[in-house]
């Protein structure tokens, strides 16, 4: 190999009480797409923070050399000046500023007198947008763009800084398949222009698709560096299972648990029936976000909802859950044969419905409070004794879930914001399982969670179904729907476009229904 662009040698980073990285090595060749894999907490983000200067030189041990020279970055600016640009999972764009203003934020194009050169700004922005293949006007406010397009703006911003090494942290986590494909293609195009990339991802399919090399981290150590393909053109020679084995340190022969069947007396009875459900967009009253959707879920059944981003899956779920989204137009809701008109969340909870949100940080958890109180929140009224919360009872409930759900925390008084994504998700699930609903709506329950934790979540879902709960499972990852569900509904543009049984379902069939457009 020719001289590497980046070499990180024996990087060790210690936080008070925790060794986040120990003697990690990473070498990125010129024009290489290098993937970094590892479970949550393996040290991927910390390593990137060391590289980009967020953890400044001197707070870690080891050496970094970039383009053959040793470097010591004092802050993120210093690394950007050398051409190392990091794009974070949470986008750092300012919604009310235009695309052009965002691209040159902190790097404003000025005239000789020190004022903004708007002509130049717009012209250069337009060129950069063309380079990333985004057909939008530079004057458009960023808030008007979809997440996928915003991601492209981020990359344009990176290109404006004359990037040599682009670091992408979970770039496709919030994107639908189509936008993901566009983004991955763009990364391949950039490689042809000589820009190396480091991509952190949980999606192994993506890694196989674009990466040349993959480095696997586990518990803050480099486990191995594997070659995905010999030349950029060749087919990948590394299997997903091989990567998983490196990440979890054991063979994960099963990615999904075996489904246990519920054999209660109400086994074949319908638990949740939604009829003709129609919802308008909260502000744009012309638009029907959910259009005449009818579906049902039986006791002990796991029913999936597949759909691309914007298909109306989350909107349907939230609207059913106490009308917490949009403007209700019409439709009936029947829980265990009784028609309910749950107009508020408490009413929906009383009716036996629980909704586990796709965005646990925004809508699922009080991050500054502890595990104990997050779990008890929906069930507090039932935990009363003499009119006040029985703290003994509350705590024993939390302890029970900490053990049974394998939430990794020293005590139930640990602040939820300090937990890893997988453990946070377990807290959200515990919270709703304890509310003892008849119907559980799970919205992307494994988003941003590592492979090991995913299996645990799947097992919990299976157990819920085996206890006779009706589970509605919304997911963007088709393999997990195929692996877990008895039936799968597909949605597109707010409508139901298909109902497919487990036996008939394949990724291709689902995708065909999901992309069915209105004629």
């Amino acid at each position: 190999m020719t001289r590497p662009v980046l070499e990180m040698r024996d990087i060790t980073k210690t936080f008070p009480g925790v060794k986040a990285l120990s003697e990690v090595n990473l070498t990125v060749g010129p024009g290489e797409i290098h993937a970094i894999c590892g479970e949550n907490g393996a040290g991927k983000s910390t390593l990137m923070k060391v590289l980009s200067g967020v953890h400044e030189h001197g707070t870690y041990e080891g050496e970094i050399s970039f383009e053959g020279e040793p470097v010591a970055f004092g802050d993120i600016r210093a690394s950007e000046q050398r051409g190392i640009v990091i794009i974070h999972q949470e986008l750092a764009l300012i919604p009310y500023l235009s695309v052009a203003e965002n691209i040159f934020l902190g790097n404003e194009q000025t005239s000789a007198r020190g004022f903004i050169d708007w002509q130049g700004t717009l012209r250069k922005a337009a060129a950069l947008l063309a380079q990333v293949g985004l057909r939008e006007q530079p004057q458009t406010p960023v808030s008007a763009l979809s997440v996928g397009k915003q991601q492209l703006v981020e990359i344009a911003k990176a290109l404006s800084k004359e990037v040599k090494l682009l670091i992408l942290d979970e770039p496709t986590a919030a994107l639908n398949d189509e936008d993901s494909a566009t983004l991955l293609d763009l990364i391949l195009t950039l490689r042809e222009q000589g820009i190396a990339s480091i991509i952190i991802s949980h999606k192994l399919g993506e890694i196989r698709r674009i990466a040349d090399t993959v480095t696997i981290l586990r518990d803050g150590r480099t486990i191995e560096t594997l070659t995905v393909r010999e030349t950029p053109e060749s087919e990948p020679q590394l299997s997903e299972d091989r990567i998983i084995r490196g990440m979890v340190g054991r063979d994960l022969d099963r990615r999904f648990p075996d489904r246990t069947h519920y054999e209660g007396e109400d086994a074949e009875k319908v638990a949740l029936e939604v009829g003709g459900w129609t919802v308008r967009h909260p502000t744009d009253h012309q638009r029907l976000v959910v259009d005449d959707v009818s579906l049902n879920v039986r006791h002990g059944e796991i029913v999936g909802i597949a759909g691309l981003m914007g298909a109306g899956r989350t909107e349907l779920a939230m609207s059913v859950f106490g009308r917490s989204y949009g403007q209700y137009v019409g439709g009936t809701l029947t829980v265990e044969g009784r028609e309910v008109t749950a107009k508020t969340v408490p009413a929906a909870v009383d009716a036996g419905i629980a909704y586990v949100t796709e965005d646990r940080k925004q809508y699922g958890l009080n991050l500054i409070d502890n595990i104990n109180r997050n779990i008890s929140l929906p069930s507090l009224p039932g935990m009363r004794r003499h009119g006040v919360v029985d703290e003994h009872h509350e705590r024993s409930v939390a302890e029970r879930y900490r053990t049974s759900m394998n939430i990794k925390a020293p005590t139930v008084f640990e602040q939820v914001g300090r937990l890893s994504g997988g453990n946070q998700q377990k807290v959200v699930l515990s919270k709703w399982i304890h509310a003892d609903p008849r119907v559980l709506i799970l919205d992307e329950p494994t988003r941003g969670i590592d492979v090991g934790a995913k299996f645990e979540i799947y097992s919990v879902i299976d157990e819920l179904a085996s206890q006779g709960k009706a589970v509605l499972f919304i997911s963007s990852e088709l393999p997990e729907l195929l692996g877990m569900c008895d039936r799968i509904y597909t949605m597109a543009e707010g409508r139901l476009t298909g109902e497919i049984t487990r036996a008939d379902a394949t990724q291709e069939v689902l995708m065909r229904h999901m992309t069915q457009n209105r004629s």
Partner: protein, 409 residues
């Protein structure tokens, strides 16, 4: 908050086992840094001024004075703490103090109403004022900053209208006792004020019982607890502090009436915030409103209740303040809202909500109160007093921010 971070149980330490007492103390202190820090700061300020004033600060009559002088700010601070925990702010309380004081003056002085009735009506006026603001904030959805800024102007204006720009006085004695009175002496003659001794004893019993119960629970749940000898030391120290305070008050006129009112509020509100469902909902709402709503918290009703509570407490503070001045005046309560907000932040509230305790608000209020009183005693002018109070607020919150950044990653 009463959360306590505990070290990971790597070697499964037995509860109560001597697992480096110092480390445990530090851990414990870390978890409640702002409150412990402020308690230490309060002690430091008290000692500083005690020396500086040659012992005047802690003379029995000055301690009584200190309590009565700061009572209305402390009452406001407790209500403000709830408002801030819920993620809001109330700028109108100073004006509401004036308005309620004015209304009570009109009722008693102009219409010769019995003072008990006037007091009850005043509190009702406060509740209505709180409900008025709470309605716009919770149900209409106007930001609390705007609604209460409007309230600040509105109630100040109404005060001037009601009083026609004049002060109204005097008030009946019973009403004045609300701010200036003491619990009457009972029983045989001792050197001390008897009922005060009884109150002190009850307070010590209450504190020890609570300590014992929490410790028992912590042991039962295998949480890390202070080693036995340290814990006993803590209990003895608490008892000694209460005893010293009781004897100080008992050697003067005894417990001020307003102090009983404040203690009742502190215990009652503290209990509600810790143990009642509605209290938990306030914390959840401030911590993450969207998540709380999706967990079935009736966000509008809870927000509304928090402002009604604030209204009633502002009315109570208004009555106490009017009783202390023995007059309803148009300029009453000027800048009280700022003092109350400062007390809440010094006492551990967070600008983004979700954090804080009622006890913290009291500690924060006392820090400001002792500073005021101490600086006046040593003859520092009000000009410099303001400068120093500003710096203290900045330092308290700055310290907390710095501490959090160091603790977090």
């Amino acid at each position: 908050m009463t959360t306590s971070t505990t070290p990971p149980k790597d070697a499964s330490p037995k509860p109560g086992a001597p697992q480096s007492a110092g480390a445990l103390l530090l851990q414990n202190a870390r978890a409640n840094m702002r409150q412990y820090g402020m308690l230490v700061a309060l002690a430091f300020i008290v000692i500083l001024f005690q020396i500086w004033t040659d012992g005047t600060l802690l003379l029995p009559n000055n301690v009584s004075n200190l309590i009565q002088q700061n009572s209305y700010i402390l009452i406001l601070a407790m209500g403000m703490m709830l408002v801030i925990i819920a993620g809001h702010i109330d700028l109108s309380v100073g004006s509401l103090v004036a308005f309620v004081g004015a209304m009570s003056a009109v009722m008693m002085v102009k219409h010769d109403m019995p003072w008990v009735l006037a007091l009850i009506l005043s509190l009702l006026i406060g509740a209505v004022a709180g409900a008025w603001q709470g309605f716009f904030i919770a149900y209409v959805g106007i930001p609390s900053f705007i609604v209460t800024l409007a309230g600040m102007l509105l109630f100040r204006g109404l005060t001037q209208i009601v009083l026609e720009g004049q002060s109204l006085s005097p008030f009946p004695e019973g009403y004045q006792d609300l701010a200036k009175g003491f619990i009457p002496e009972m029983g045989p003659y001792t050197q001390y004020h008897n009922p005060t001794l009884v109150f002190g004893l009850l307070a010590i019993l209450f504190l020890l019982l609570r300590e014992w119960r929490t410790r028992r629970q912590q042991v039962a749940y295998e949480l890390d607890v202070l080693p036995q000898n340290l814990w006993i030391l803590k209990c003895v120290a608490m008892a000694a502090a209460v005893t010293a305070f009781t004897l100080t008050l008992a050697s003067f006129h005894g417990v001020p009436v307003v102090m009983l009112v404040m203690c009742a509020l502190l215990i009652g509100l503290g209990y509600v915030m810790r143990n009642a469902v509605v209290g938990r909902h306030v914390y959840a709402l401030g911590g993450n409103k969207a998540a709380a709503k999706l967990s079935g918290v009736k966000d509008k009703r809870v927000t509304f209740m928090v402002f009604v509570n604030m209204g009633v407490l502002a009315a109570l503070a208004g009555c106490v303040y009017a009783a202390r001045l023995n007059a309803g005046t148009p300029q009453a309560g000027l800048n009280f809202e700022l003092e109350a907000i400062a007390a809440a932040f010094i006492g551990g509230a967070s600008m983004s909500g979700g954090v804080g305790t009622v006890m913290g608000a009291v500690i924060g209020g006392l820090v400001l109160g002792v500073l005021n009183n101490g600086m006046s005693l040593v003859g520092i002018g009000t000009d410099y007093q303001q400068v120093i109070k500003g710096l203290v607020l900045l330092a308290a919150v700055g310290f907390d921010v710095w501490n959090k950044r160091k603790a977090g990653r």
